[in-house]
């Protein structure tokens, strides 16, 4: 891997190699979208839907977040989103709460990581 930024992310547990394979090993493209991830509106929209108890939209945004995070190599975030989506589809509200909380935590962990790595390499 040529990008130190990406190497660092790989060391922090982000599945950079898997994601890069999907990005045709185009490191610059991948790095560009990783850096754009904190600005993506999917998660804030999911939070809004959750606060409004708007489960239909919550499903759509969770689904989006699941795909996006998997694309970018945030596998644990994607995995939690998958579980949350499964609960939403089954209307399993009790577990939804638990997974949603996990998702929020994991999302912030990813953002913190990206923020720290950004600071280091900016």
């Amino acid at each position: 891997m040529n990008s130190e930024y990406l190497s660092h992310l790989q060391n922090e547990g982000i599945a950079v190699h898997i994601a890069l394979d999907r990005f045709m090993n185009n490191e610059s493209f991948y790095e560009k979208y990783i850096r754009m991830f904190p600005e993506d509106k999917t998660f804030p929209l999911l939070q809004e839907a959750y606060q409004r108890n708007d489960w239909d939209n919550a499903k759509i945004y969770t689904h989006s977040l699941k795909g996006l995070s998997a694309s970018l190599g945030f596998l644990s975030l994607s995995s939690i989103a998958e579980k949350l989506l499964s609960c939403l589809k089954k209307e399993d509200v009790s577990h939804y709460e638990i997974y949603y909380k996990q998702l929020v935590n994991n999302y912030h962990q990813v953002l913190n990581l990206l923020h720290e790595v950004d600071k280091k390499f900016s």
């Binding site: 040529n2 599945a15 898997i18 185009n26 754009m36 689904h63 596998l75 935590n105």
Partner: protein
């Protein structure tokens, strides 16, 4: 009238006739003599009665008649007794026949033994069938029978027989019996004295209790198991209520603490962090219980979906590596002989099984310990491969007693302070069984444990064989050194089948020697794959570089953790490849590193869709931007739509034949991809059925593909999108449609 009555009647008539005859004759003779005496001999002294009859022949016939009558009576009596004897004999024969029939049809075996003669005088035919003994031999030598008993049982039987003969009352005795073929039987001897004609006999009735005993043992075992399960379930419930209460109480307490620390952000943050840990633990508990109840009720269904085995293993290793690093445990992964990388199975459950075993290994291996995760292909045919996963650690290990209950549900929960539900391994075993696989464990307290899982996985027949995907145009000469020779052998075999000249060596000295030799004959190596040298890595690599400079040979190091490679090593090699080594990775590196050194070279985007108009339907902005960037690189002209309605509107308002492709996200707000496709296909435009619609969904299940095709889409690609795959699919569709500009 029956036989007896007829005989009696005949005999009586015979005797009666004889008696009448005798009396008649006697009276006749006497009367005649009296008359003669009165008429002819007035002097009684001269009468017949007083005459010397012996001198007269006239009186012989009555005597003869008397004798005859006596004979008739005797014959009658003899006939009577003869018939009686005959009748008794018939009865005896009938009884004996009936006894034989009874004995032959009884399940038990009967033996009659004479103590005075020391031999069996009767043996039922079933002896051979039940106890496998030759009847003839037992007749000849009774000891053959008794020698099949254990010495202590033999003594016991002897005592029982003597006692029975003494008290004249039957007894029974259960003991083991070993047949001549070595089969152990459990039998019951009923010993009965025979008190007839003062014979010293006893009857030995033998009942085979083997099956009954086995069933009893099974029932006993089942009862014990059921009782244990009941106890375990009770313990589990009490343990679970404790386990669930602990994090719940912690969360409740932390909320109270947080309320009092509203003005102290640091303390508040600490409370939230601890709450997070407790809720995570609680979630694991609840998930395990739910999974287990699903399996127990038979509601767990496995999905069969194609997946990349390599990606699965890499994802697992990535997660486990992070955990291992945090704990300071050394984690190594090895893959042996994996010919198929595209398989079919339930990835979610397979991942759950492997992660459970690996997490346990980390949990029970102290800092500084080692964990090895190895994957080996043990069998292969056209339709499936059989893989063996082994998780080996040098952790705390388990006792023999604990090993016996390790896969039982709830068993571990009783281990106080284990911090687990006790369901993890039970769920793992059940899932493996559902997948038609099996799991075994070997462990020694204080030494470590090895869990081995054998699983059959179907092969995705659509996969292009790993080897077919590569063809080396120029002849590569490759040298491989791996500490595990099995892996080195396998890689050499794969490479040689692809027109390479590959060779492996067993130690570092041999590497230098082979490199020197190859150079001296003017046929140097072009590629070298080395395990990371444990000692003096830099000087060793420098020695290699002295023989084969950077321009002549590429060197790659296979490592468990790229970050562990020291900075001064990296300039000496062309790159590193993470273990486990997959053939496809190695082949890709050899192919991609031909001209430019370095790992993971960017793949050149050689796809040209400059003559294509593409309508991209995607509701997520970032996903849309990513796809747009890649599509723009191919020269395609791309329009975007953020939902199904927008897609239909863009298509229906475009000139006929304008769009070649619609890349359709399935789940979108307002109108989903399926509905949009149906609307497009049902429109009466000339190009409504011609435009190529490719579904992009988060799932790669067969049902998703079928659903996409059923609603009119041409193809399906799973998200996250692998752009190379997408472009290949688009290219195939264009070729199929007769556009051969590529």
């Amino acid at each position: 009238m029956n036989f007896d009555n007829r005989t009696n009647l005949r005999t009586a008539i015979c005797c009666l006739v004889g008696t009448c005859l005798l009396v008649g004759l006697g009276l006749g003779a006497w009367q005649k003599a009296l008359i003669v005496d009165l008429l002819y001999y007035p002097d009684p002294a001269q009468g017949i009665l007083h005459a010397d009859l012996s001198q007269s022949n006239e009186f012989y016939w009555p005597i003869l008649l008397v004798i005859l009558s006596i004979c008739v009576i005797v014959v009658g009596i003899l006939g009577y007794y003869w018939k009686k004897i005959q009748q008794r004999n018939c009865q005896l024969i009938a009884r004996e026949n009936a006894f034989q029939l009874l004995v032959e049809h009884m399940e038990d075996t009967y033996l009659l033994y004479s103590l005075s003669e020391h031999r069996f005088i009767h043996i039922s035919e079933s002896l051979n069938e039940i106890l496998g003994l030759s009847i003839k031999q037992v007749y000849n030598q009774a000891d053959i029978f008794f020698s099949c008993l254990l010495p202590e049982d033999r003594i016991l039987l002897r005592q029982t027989i003597l006692h029975v003969m003494e008290i004249k009352k039957g007894q029974h005795l259960e003991c083991a019996f070993q047949t001549p073929s070595g089969e152990a039987k459990w039998v019951c001897f009923h010993v009965q004295p025979i008190d007839i004609f003062d014979k010293n006999w006893f009857l030995l009735a033998i009942t085979d209790l083997t099956t009954q005993k086995k069933n009893q043992d099974l029932l006993k075992a089942a009862l014990v198991k059921a009782q244990e399960a009941g106890v375990a379930r009770r313990d589990f419930l009490s343990q679970m209520s404790h386990e669930i209460r602990t994090p719940m109480n912690a969360i409740a307490g932390l909320i109270k603490m947080a309320e009092h620390a509203i003005d102290d952000p640091d303390k508040l943050q600490d409370c939230l962090h601890k709450m997070n840990l407790s809720s995570d633990h609680l979630l694991t508990l609840v998930n395990d219980i739910l999974d287990f109840s699903k399996i127990e009720s038979g509601k767990m269904e496995l999905v069969k979906e194609p997946f990349s085995f390599k990606e699965l293993v890499q994802a697992i290793c990535s997660m486990v590596n992070t955990q291992a690093k945090e704990k300071g445990v050394f984690f190594a992964t090895e893959a042996y002989g994996l010919n198929k990388e595209s398989l079919v199975g339930d990835t979610l459950r397979l991942k759950q099984v492997l992660l459970n075993l690996l997490s346990n290994a980390i949990k029970y291996t102290p800092t500084g310990g080692h964990i090895t995760f190895s994957i080996r292909q043990i069998a292969e045919d056209v339709e499936q491969v059989r893989l063996r996963f082994a998780v080996k650690d040098d952790g705390i290990g388990m006792s023999e007693t604990f090993l016996q209950t390790i896969f039982l549900p709830f068993a571990q929960a009783t281990q106080k302070g284990s911090g687990s539900t006790g369901l993890g391994l039970a769920i793992t075993k059940d899932l493996i069984t559902l997948m038609n696989g099996n799991i075994t464990v070997e462990s020694k307290l204080g030494v470590g444990s090895t869990f081995t899982v054998d699983l059959p996985l179907a092969v995705d027949n659509k996969e292009v064989g790993i080897q077919k995907a590569f063809s080396f145009s120029s002849k590569e000469k490759i040298l491989i050194w791996q500490q595990d020779t099995t892996i080195a052998c396998y890689l050499v075999k794969v490479l040689n089948s692809l027109n390479c000249s590959a060779q492996y060596c067993s130690n570092q000295e041999e590497i230098l020697l082979l490199l020197e030799q190859a150079k001296s004959i003017g046929y140097p190596y072009t590629f070298c794959l080395l395990d990371f040298p444990r000692e003096k890595a830099a000087s060793f690599l420098q020695a290699i570089r002295c023989i084969s400079p950077t321009t002549a040979m590429r060197i790659f190091l296979s490592v468990y953790d790229i970050t562990a490679v020291a900075a001064h090593i990296l300039p000496l090699v062309d790159g590193c490849i993470t273990k486990p080594l997959f053939s496809s990775d190695l082949l890709a590196i050899i192919e991609n590193s031909k001209n430019v050194p370095g790992i993971c070279q960017q793949k050149e985007n050689t796809f040209d869709f400059s003559h294509c108009h593409i309508l991209l339907a995607e509701d997520n902005v970032l996903n849309m931007e990513i796809a747009l960037d890649f599509l723009n690189q191919t020269g395609a002209r791309v329009d975007c739509a953020e939902n199904g309605e927008a897609v239909c509107e863009a298509f229906l308002n475009s000139p006929v034949g304008y769009y070649n492709f619609i890349l359709m996200d399935v789940q979108m707000p307002r109108m989903d991809g399926y509905a949009a496709t149906e609307k497009i296909r049902q429109s009466k435009r000339e190009d409504a059925t011609k435009v190529i619609i490719i579904a992009m969904t988060a799932n790669a299940f067969r049902e998703d593909r079928e659903e996409s095709l059923a609603c009119g889409m041409d193809d399906h690609i799973a998200k996250p999108i692998n752009f190379e795959c997408l472009f290949e699919k688009m290219k195939e569709h264009l070729i199929r449609d007769g556009e051969d500009e590529f």
